[in-house]
Amino acid sequence: MLEIRDLYKSYGKTVALDGVDLDVAKGETVVIMGPSGCGKSTLIRCVNRLTEPDRGSIVLAGQDVLALSGRELQRFRRQVGFVFQHFNLIARLTALDNVMFHLVLGGMDREEAREKALDALDKVGLKGAAARRPSELSGGQQQRVGIARALVTNPEIMLWDEPTASLDPILVGEVLEVMEELVQNTGTTMVIVTHEVSFALRAADRIVFMDQGRVVEQGPPQQVFSEPRSQIGRLYRKLLLN
């Protein structure tokens, strides 16, 4: 489904990605973990070209992602759901509009888009808050709107960039719940960047540890947590045991 090869990205002298290789199979849920600044976000943003890699290749569902431009790129992005750490909702739009506006702009009939949006909101348990604006929602609710927005297009792949990192611990649970449910029920390919070890243990098919712009270890959760080979792995194991 997703093949990333030898991906490099640097910001001036800061090397964010230093030759990353990663394969994700269709329907697989991959959790990427690593210390702050190791390049997780950069990697995940490269996948839908929010960040342009310096070199390397990304192939998603047979498409050479880095060769896309203009309308092709836009069409491609609609097939990729992206959930942001800071939700990135459009502040002036209601929850419903936030979820449906890109459908309409993509050419869908307004009514149909509305139904789909309400459906997506329902999935994240926020049908009742459809008319509210982001400022009238809690952080957890906002992120659930963000999730609804990502999944409303029925994407082939969903990319999650630390969806719970900016939530207070009480609200983290409701988001993780939604995520777990999605992982279990949709069969959508997921690439999730998170520090939630227990969630990773429960939901991930595979865990990828990154450090300093490289993939340092990967494998099934039980394996990487029980017998970590990398220093990062060992740190997460410690975290899990605590």
Partner: protein
């Protein structure tokens, strides 16, 4: 970066630019126009509409009411259909507009404003503002009439009116003004007033120096076609001319009134004009008699008393003269000095006349009495004559009677006859003293004729008596009393003073003005020439025009207003452009900056100065400002189109550099929008612009925005 516009936003941008330029132009010009209109209206109120009034009368504020009534009276009497309006009162001076009906806007009326309005109470002066006209300021009096003649011959000119130092040229119509003005400028251009100025205290004979300067100019070969004229005194005008003439008259009068001093120099003595002599001889109490030599004619000299008074005599008085040295010492004998005083003679003659008149009156009374006496005598004489005749007849009868009587006359009779005859003879003799003549010759006397003569004499004497001798005497007495009571010394000093002032009828001054017609001269080049030729190293030359065409005050104000309008429009165009750049374009720049942040590669250092974004900002700013400025008809001094283009460019670059401060774009929303697969135009319309600052971009977007 072009990708950004390619998927549709270019249309939005194009529309935005078009509307911005249009709106900017309308806005800038509109406000400028509004200012213009406002001030124009205010000005109209203040100074009247074009051609509505012909003069402003400046009147002392306290006399305003009385002046107003007088103006109404003048208007009704002399200018039926006149217009009167009051305007501002400034610094205690009220200003009143007076509009003449068109038929009175004539040269005659306009040149005699003072005679029409001179009696208006509190009038301090007036300003002509008759339209359509061209005002020529500072017209040199030496060329005024010449200019006026030429100007009045121009097509489109009605006439030219002198107004103080100005010439107001009335055009036939407003349309002709530019053409008339141009023609006048052409005429003025032929003239130049060259002024030679001497430092303070170096007063020169302007006539003489002027003439010499003209010669110097005429000697310049390359300038042979020019016409030159000394117009120094013309600057003082006709009043001075009259004053000078009066002075000359006065000098001559004083001269004839003063004592005549004739000097007969002793053999071998030479006298010079200006020398002083002290005189010996009869003098009135007081100072010594001093005479100044005013002229030497061969062996005779003339002088003038400058100190002391000679004795009052109607005859010549002879003195002996001695040279007087500069330090007041009496020097050698120079000759006899004869003083003859017309003034005393005049006074004497007047006195004599007065006496004569008094006697004449007396004489008339006496003569009248004498005539009366003569008539009485004549009457008596006539009566006596008649009685004599009667007696003669009786005598004859008596003689005859005696001769005819028959008897011899008695002795008594004879004796009586003898006695009577003798008596008659004696009587006739005593009366007529005519000896042996007969009484008949007496009868030949024409008594009546004599009486008529006496009557004539009597009438004439009556006439003499009727003359009001007393009044004549009073008048002559008055003349005597008003004769200037000047001493010779005073007269002499006055004459000398007048002479210095007249200096041969030109004003000694510190500047000489020459009129030059034809080729223009460079005054600085001439300065050196004059300094050398006139031998006056401190002389300076200046060149002025013979008159300057200046737009009338009203036109000037409106021209300034128009200029202000253009400046305001220009400034507004700049401000508008800046606002538009900040409100609208900064948003676009911010978005572009955000979008390229995730792009490949680091920004190379050299690119920072050739940043396409900044370039785009500059071009946009330049295009916007240039077109708005142009369409708004902005006109700021020194702001040429190039300057405006550069300024616009600079503003655009500045806004591009600081765009994120002016109009930050929410990078998270932007990223979400990108991730959701929105096109650039959709990102702009739905995500970036709606929350941006209110502006044209924001406003226009409302029509396209779907959410």
């Amino acid at each position: 970066m072009l990708d950004f516009f390619r998927d549709g936003f270019y249309k939005d941008l194009a529309l935005l630019l078009a509307i911005t330029v249009l709106f900017g132009a309308v806005f800038s010009q509109g406000i400028a126009w509004a200012i213009d209109a406002y001030f124009g209206d205010t000005l109209d109120q203040m100074i009247g509409g074009y051609g509505e009034y012909d003069l402003i009368l400046h009147i002392r504020a306290e006399a305003k009411e009385a002046a107003w009534r007088e103006l109404q009276r003048i208007g009704e009497q002399s200018f039926p259909g006149y217009k009167l309006n009051e305007t501002l009162t400034i610094a205690g001076q009220a200003n009143v507009f007076f509009g003449l009906p068109p038929e009175y806007r004539t040269k005659e009326v306009l040149e005699s404003i003072t005679s029409y309005f001179g009696a208006v109470p509190g009038l301090n002066g007036y300003t002509l503002m008759v339209q359509p006209s061209v005002l020529i300021r500072g017209v040199h009096p030496g060329v005024r009439e010449e200019l006026r003649e030429q100007i009045e011959a121009l097509p489109g000119v009605r006439f030219a009116v002198k107004d103080g130092n100005n010439l107001v040229v009335l055009a036939q119509g407003e349309d002709q003004l530019p053409q008339v003005q141009e023609a006048i400028e052409g005429i003025l251009d032929q003239y130049q007033i060259l002024e030679l100025r001497f430092p303070m205290g170096f007063a020169v004979d302007t006539q003489e120096v002027g003439d010499r300067a003209l010669e110097v100019l005429r000697a310049q070969e390359k300038l042979t076609g020019n016409r030159y004229l000394n117009v120094t005194s013309a600057q003082y005008g006709e009043d001075l001319d009259a004053f000078l003439k009066t002075l000359v008259e006065m000098r001559d009068f004083l001269g004839s009134y003063a004592s005549k001093v004739r000097i007969a120099p002793a053999a071998g003595t030479a006298l010079a004009v200006g020398e002083r002599l002290v005189l010996d001889g009869a003098v009135q109490a007081g100072q010594e008699l001093i005479v100044e030599v005013t002229g030497v004619f061969g062996d005779l000299a003339e002088g003038m008393i400058i100190q002391g008074s000679p004795v009052q005599s109607t005859d010549k008085v002879v003195h002996t003269g001695y040279r007087l040295s500069a330090d007041g010492e009496r020097g050698e004998y120079v000759g006899e000095v004869e003083i003859e005083n017309e003034r005393y003679r005049l006074a004497y003659a007047v006195e004599e006349s007065l006496r004569l008149l008094a006697e004449l009156e007396e004489l008339a009374v006496q003569a009248s009495a004498a005539v009366d006496n003569a008539e009485a005598v004549l009457t008596t004489f006539q009566e006596a004559l008649m009685q004599l005749e009667v007696l003669q007849v009786q005598m004859r009868q008596l003689n005859e009677g005696i001769a005819q009587s028959e008897g011899k006359p008695s002795g008594e009779q004879f004796l009586l006859t003898l006695l009577l005859n003798g008596l008659f003879q004696t009587l006739a003799q005593s009366v007529l003293s005519s000896g042996e003549e007969s009484l008949d010759s007496l009868e030949n006397l024409d008594i009546e004729e004599m009486r008529r003569s006496l009557d004539g004499i009597s009438t004439q004497i009556a006439n003499v008596q009727e003359i009001n001798v007393a009044a004549i005497m009073e008048q002559i007495g008055f003349v005597r009393d008003t004769l200037p009571d000047l001493s010779d010394a005073e007269i002499g000093q006055s004459i000398r003073l007048i002479n210095t002032y007249l200096g041969g009828q030109v004003i000694p001054g510190e500047r000489v003005q020459l009129l030059i017609q034809g080729q223009k001269l460079n005054e600085k080049e001439l300065e050196k020439l004059f300094q050398k030729e006139l031998d006056h190293p401190y002389l300076h030359t200046y060149s002025t025009s013979a008159g300057m065409v200046s737009p009338d005050a009203r036109g000037e104000i409106f021209r300034i207003l128009k200029e202000v309008r253009s400046i305001v429009a220009g400034l507004l165009a700049i401000i508008f452009t800046l606002i538009v750049l900040v409100l609208d374009h900064a948003t676009i720049f911010s978005t572009l900056k955000q979008l390229r942040a995730g792009k490949k590669g680091a920004v190379r250092p050299w690119l920072r100065w050739a940043d396409p974004l900044l370039l785009m900002g500059g071009i946009l700013g330049s295009a916007l400002l240039s077109s708005i400025y142009h369409l708004a008809r902005g006109q700021i001094p020194f702001f040429t189109p190039a300057v405006i283009a550069v300024l616009g460019f600079a503003l655009g670059v500045l806004v591009a550099v600081l765009c994120e401060r002016f109009s930050p774009v929410d990078s998270m929303e932007l990223m979400a929008a990108q991730a959701l697969g929105l096109s650039h135009v959709q990102i702009m319309r739905e995500v970036v612009i709606p929350p941006s600052r209110p502006g044209l971009l924001n406003l226009l977007n409302r029509f396209r925005q779907q959410f």
